[in-house]
Point group: C2
Chain length 391, copies 2
């Protein structure tokens, strides 16, 4: 079949705040071809991502993403990889292209799976879709007592793995942070899986991160996530060499396979966290799952938006039985909940898995596309390059 | 003073082709504050870069670039660095932000220099602006004979350094490529500086690049530029370890200081090429000039657009007397020529230098802003977020 149309839907909550919650808006992509439709979702800023799809060409290696997609043949996974290579080369100088293409690529996998009646994880070569333990992702409390209570609540809701992030960590003393880590452990109980995300707060200051390690170790944290700038490989590598028990985690900022590989090879992370909505989609994410697997590094999805994005993010490591943790958006905004009419719910064992259904297995709600739509119009040189499409 | 206004002007030639010529369009930035005006230029796609400045916030670390700039205090270089850090953190998830901010940052240096009556290179701490040998940058011919003649022409125009790029290299056999390298040497003569740019053609295939090294060495090439994907650090490192005489060059794709540092530390390049219009502006470029200098790596600008961009790109290493080569746009489109009413011309020694004049020392032509302007209008949710400003 041919890619006949690619449509972008910019959705948003009525109010967007400065909280670190990526579910406040969304850029949903619909790809149509051969009588089928597939859906995907780009992570990060909708407007620049739309612009990167429709913008006029600047020169031979700064072409809009649409030039590598529209009208192309899509008959199998190799065609998706071929288009990805086209984007990588012909949009070499268009920085935003990777984020834009990520949602398009997801939608192409969904389309292909629906056309063949197969789940994407089978198209990727996996025989089974293994259950993953979802972790509840939440912010640290303002006080250790709040942090403790948040842990109890997460356990009461059935989560045996809990990630705490951002908040006061790194802004006070190591001792103050240590109180939060201890409170988190107390809140989730001795058998809970404790994960800590500090949102790049230490820049590339290894010593400041190092000062938090003893308390993290004492609290039995499984990983310390994003202590540094997404590209601070040296700092990651130095901290990893000094950490006996707590592994480092990172990778959500990777917008190509090289960046994720470097976090493994130079940064020595123990957990590589890939956002399919940023790295270029499901294909590059699968390449990282293979790469990590061969090196004893655990693959984890990064997902903070809808269950469409969650399904996409589970596919690349669905068949890796030994990689058992997954990020699960616990309290997303209503937009992210309403976007799909079905949801990936934990089973009796408390595990979620990529669905055994054609494509990504998710049904996008047209009502949600209408309810949350943000009308966008982009005119260049008197010509309308983009206008919000009809549902 | 306060940053009172930031305006973007999207300029384009009437026709933009697929040739690898970055001077076919431009995104010029005007920053106003305290009764002064400064100018800068973003490299790469204008529309997504404008969108990254004006887009609605997605969440706390995916804010538009304007939120870190408008209304901020600008009293010295430290304020520019402070705003850069704000953008890096608060626009962490907005991939295009680095390209957008690059032009804004340049314009802030220009503004500050004009306000103080000092050239930017003095604000950067340099005592002098040293002359650089400009190299003529041109494509390989379709045949070795064409390549030879192009070399003779470049020498006849006074260039003793010539860079050949792209074209047939890497698309045929190593022997065919070798014929081009030999022809290039013959064309520019035995005393010419020969530079070769292959535009990422080998992806990350070290062997294919390695097969070209003997002929490059025989032709006396000073560097082999961008043999691989901008992030293929491992491939760079492996090829560098196997090259006795020909140094590797790269870095134009760096959109933060980490990427450029990694090309030095892991990729073992001998020449690091920084585009101030991509890496975040003049400040990060200066950081790389210092970093390279301390490690025996030569800094070179990457510039393929106007003399406004050229002046900006010379500032970060203006004071490094030992780094003597500079990229010089030899046959830019009329837009890039007309954009400034003054130009950086080679002196009696055939050298160019960052001007000894306030700011970037370039005068932007209002006539050019009118002649080449592309009208853009971006509406989101019924509100106009961007419309081409008045000159």
């Amino acid at each position: 079949m041919k890619i006949e149309a690619v449509d972008f839907f910019y959705l948003s909550m009525p109010q967007v705040t400065t909280e670190a919650d990526g579910s406040q808006d969304a850029l949903v992509v619909r790809v149509a071809g051969g009588g089928h439709v597939g859906w995907g979702e780009c992570e990060a800023a909708p407007l620049p991502s739309i612009a990167a799809f429709v913008c006029p060409m600047s020169h031979g290696v700064c072409r809009p993403v649409q030039d590598s997609v529209l009208g192309q043949t899509l008959d199998g996974p190799a065609d998706i990889a071929r288009m990805a290579a086209l984007v990588e080369y012909d949009s070499m100088d268009l920085l935003q292209a990777a984020h834009t293409f990520s949602g398009v690529e997801m939608a192409m996998w969904d389309l292909l799976g629906r056309a063949r009646g197969e789940p994407v994880w089978k198209l990727l070569g996996y025989k089974a879709s293994h259950g993953k333990v979802p972790y509840a992702s939440q912010l640290f409390g303002d006080t250790p007592q709040e942090t403790l209570e948040l842990g109890r609540k997460a356990r009461a809701r059935g989560f045996r793995a809990v990630k705490y992030g951002w908040g006061p960590i790194g802004r006070g003393t190591p001792a103050e942070d240590g109180d939060h880590f201890a409170a988190a452990r107390e809140g989730i109980g001795p058998d809970g899986i404790l994960l800590v995300d500090v949102g790049q707060i230490f820049g590339e200051d290894v010593d400041r991160a190092l000062a938090r390690l003893p308390a993290l170790e004492k609290a039995g944290a499984t990983w310390l996530e994003e202590p540094f700038h997404a590209s601070a490989l040296e700092a990651y590598g130095q901290l990893a060499a000094k950490s006996a028990k707590v592994k480092l985690a990172g990778g959500e900022g990777a917008h190509n396979v090289f960046m994720a590989r470097h976090l493994i090879d130079y940064g020595k992370v123990g957990y590589v966290q890939i956002d399919c909505g940023r790295i270029g989609g499901i294909g590059p994410a699968k390449a990282i799952a293979d790469y990590a697997s061969a090196r004893g590094v655990t693959y984890v999805n990064h997902t903070f938006t809808s269950h469409l994005a969650l399904s996409a993010s589970l596919q690349p490591y669905a068949g890796l039985a030994q990689d058992t943790i997954c990020e699960f958006p616990v309290a997303p905004k209503s937009l992210a909940v309403d976007l799909t009419s079905n949801h990936l719910k934990p089973d009796a064992n408390g595990e979620v898995r990529a669905p055994d259904a054609p494509g990504l297995g998710m049904t996008v709600s047209e009502a949600a596309l209408r309810q949350y739509r943000v009308d966008v119009e982009i005119k260049v040189g008197g010509k309308t390059l983009y206008a919000t499409p009809a549902v």
